[in-house]
Amino acid sequence: MEIINNSKEYDVIVVGSGAGGGMATKILSDAGLKIAVVEAGPYFDPANPDQMTQLKWPWESPRRGSGTTRAFGDFHMSYGDWEVDGEPYTVEKDTSFRWWRSRMLGGRTNHWGRISLRFGPKDFKSKDYDGLGENWPISYDDIKPYYDKLDKLIGVFGTKENIFNEPDGFFLPPPKPRLHELFYIKGARKSGVTVIPSRLSILTKRINNTRGVCFYCGQCDRSCSAYADFSSSSCYVIPSLKGGMVDLYTNSMVIEVKTDKNGRATGVSYINKDNGREYSIKGKVVVLAASACSSARILLNSKSKAHPNGLGNSSNLIGKYLHDTTGAGRSVFIPDLINRKTYNEDGVGGMHVYSPWWLDNKKLDFPRGYHIEIGRSFTMPEYGFGYNPNEFNKFFGLKVGGYGDKLRQDVKKYYGSTIGLSGRGEAIPRKDNYCEIDPNTKDKWGIPVLKFRYKWSDYELKQAKHMHDTFEELAYNMGGIALGNKPTKEQNYGISAPGEIIHEVGTTRMGNDPYNSVVNKYERLHDVDNVFVVDAGPFVSQADKNPTWTIMALSWRTSEYIIDQLKKQNI
């Protein structure tokens, strides 16, 4: 096939426009560098009325919001979910992995929970504590200045708590707890579980004159048209386009990084999804931010004489040490919350309170911690509302089922009476959990796809068991009833399938030793001096913290390094 070459040479080509790519685009273009951003999905602006789902009512969808075309429901802002048309992935027998991809400007930052936690000092050096996994080549002190800058640039609410491994930042004030969250606080305190205001990148207070302030619709997963929550589209890429230094290539799916005969990168090739043709663009530096697994795929598919194994893969570690957050959840029925008075309790998009990890693993039979997120049910009905509408009658010796006005009354009686508890924990990265190129399968563009191999170990399973024990204790102390049965060992203690928490990291891990890692502490490939990875691929371990804030802090740090190296003409 003929390849269409663009003669223009960019200073930096950024592949992907999510958290890492958006951050790099902003910092690099602000420094006056000429940037190409190559995004596999279409243009997306949360404020575009044709794309907006915020403040829509369920009846505005003929399927009332059910998840036929979008796995998390019609109004959820992600183009693409566990499956993307024509772009399959495969999974090795007897293992599992679910891979979420959002194909759109801003990627997954348009739909995420905005939980913006810093990694703590311990999280960068976990091996020192339990001998498992690997330490990061950097410490909290190396990254702290970037977390600080990020807090001030993007805005995150929270409170100063002085907890060693949950570092404080520059916080906006948090919203007051909701009613069910007061029940959680009560239960947590009785159970000896730490509970503090949550830390979300949502503007409870103005941070600059270009973004709005939260108006409490509780719909951050739909992406905010007032830009009052953080999305890479609204906060990084769209503003950067106005600076004139950024060319945005949408619907452009990168195939590989191109290299010269010495093995240095010269640019990337991509498929234009609108016409199916292959193009290439040139750049002095290539920054991969396509998501941990997509970047691994691009590197593994970038084979050349200089890099027969895939670009940057002399260690054979690209794709290895893939790990996702662990998850387990339980609903709790609170009899005190039946027949609630109604009022607008939407609040911000997500919990107003949460529990950071509160125990010492030295006294437990699993090595790493988890945090607890609190969900709610006093929300806008969508498809699925009111199935088993009066199931809780069983707790009062009343009949379950029936029809008619009695049923209608039961729906109202129980509306808002449950609380959701979700544990989100740290897994141990393992070399034998990985993604690799499947030699037998290509996507509809002819690009070889990924094959996954992933199994939880006892460490994660025991952690999930502990989550359920905790949920039951919390439920009791809230004056509630944990619903359903506690999952058994045979049911893997109810742990989520790998990938399901959508925090996959570790595929191009960072280290000082080129034989034992893929990128160095500035996220540069050990093998090639002008290719960087700024998504979650370089994570050595992922704590029990949601990865976005750390992806961005690292990407900012790497971007400054790239600017410095270009200035010094080192690359």
Partner: protein, 240 residues
Amino acid sequence: MDRRESIKNILLGSIGSSVLLESCVSSLDKEVLDKIWEYQYGRTPEEKERDKKFLNSKFFNENELKTIEKIANIILPPNEIGNINDAGVVEMFEFIAKDWSTPAHNNYGEKVLRRGVIVFDELCSEKFGLKLLECSESQIKLLFDEISYEDKSLKDQKESVKLFATFRGMVVTGYFTSEIGIKDLDYKGNTPNVWDGVPNDVLDQYKGIVSYDKEWIDKCVDQSKRGEIAEWDEEGNLLT
């Protein structure tokens, strides 16, 4: 220009190929336009195509639709706020029957929804010698009294009981996700507001069970200053 007008213009004009332009030009399609206006909810071009296809094809025949309507009206009878028709419940059945009629959904439209109508009709024939539509409301209630509760002694419930539970779920979901259903439920959100905590009259109701503690609330946002740009000292203490 109102919203409907502007959307019509978008449909007929600038966006063009991505949305049903080909069918917009004929007068037949006023109905289609109205439907698309009704369902303007941030779709991608591919999603729009899917909606358009299902909104313009038929799954249930008139008799089946009337049967569903009658069942739905008994599951949730009309009240002063509205009824099943106002809530668009039958239209939702019709749409979901098509939307979920793929092998991935195990042909839900055919195997569950249409099957439900057939089974309820059969039971009415057995009991009263009539189709469901020909039965009186009290006759139908006699049937529903039998199939709307699970038999705890059975591990696997009878087909009619399972089908009724599905119909009930669809009706309740359809009703309470409609404009009148949300009014009936008295859900008060999905509108810009300023959250400043649980209202006092509600807190009063929970006195002795849960309450705000001062230390926590003192750290929370002062909503009178939400419009002031945030500034911090070097220690991260908010100054504004």
